[in-house]
Symmetry: C2
Subunit: 124 residues, 2 copies
């Protein structure tokens, strides 16, 4: 993993380690109450709604590792790969805005297509 020792990057890594360890409560505790995320399926507001956004994926997650993470005092950028039963190689990237160690805004991008294809194949 490539990284630089910035405060925001450290926060992003800690957050990643929590949610990929399926500690959704621990991860959500790192988000501000007015946290907003720009996701492939639209804007998600607040830690509670974001937990719902992540929960289904976290349940099927079998592996995740960071490919690179960089940042400065207030911004972090991360690229990672994930494995899950339907999608063995599912990369994602996230951008974070961090204030005093708390994540106040996020952007997440990943390819929904293989997940949708797996769902369709299951008749769901």
């Amino acid at each position: 993993m490539t990284t630089n020792p910035s405060p925001a990057a450290r926060t992003a890594v800690e957050y990643f380690e929590k949610w990929t360890a399926k500690d959704l409560d621990g991860a959500m505790a790192m988000l501000s109450d007015d946290f907003v995320s720009h996701t492939p399926s639209g804007r998600v507001e607040g830690p509670k709604a974001y937990a719902e956004f992540l929960r289904g994926f976290v349940q099927i997650l079998t592996g995740a590792h960071i490919i690179a993470v960089f940042g400065d005092e207030y911004t972090a950028l991360m690229y990672y790969d994930t494995s899950s039963a339907p999608v063995p190689d599912g990369p994602g990237a996230e951008w974070f805005r961090v204030e005093d160690g708390v994540i106040v805004e996020g952007r997440i991008v990943f390819d929904r297509l293989p997940f949708e294809a797996a769902r369709a194949a299951q008749g769901g």
Copy 2:
């Protein structure tokens, strides 16, 4: 745009400016002959094949801007947003490995789902 003044980040920005200005030849000239990219649709090898991978999107691209870019001497990470006729808000992220100002390896992630949906809606 958030950035740090690393050599690899500068290369990534120059590359982004070229392809989003539809200068595909100029962008491809920044890739090594044995360039490999890990894309949502699989592994793409060589600048020629990568130009084909990008061409359709470049043709419909109407706008693009970098949200953040960071890097060190050999690695860059970039998060951006794009606009195109079928997908007005199409973010993407790229990871680059750079050697002597030349991009030797890339990873790109974006959500193919809205592009596929637009294609399906057009009966294509």
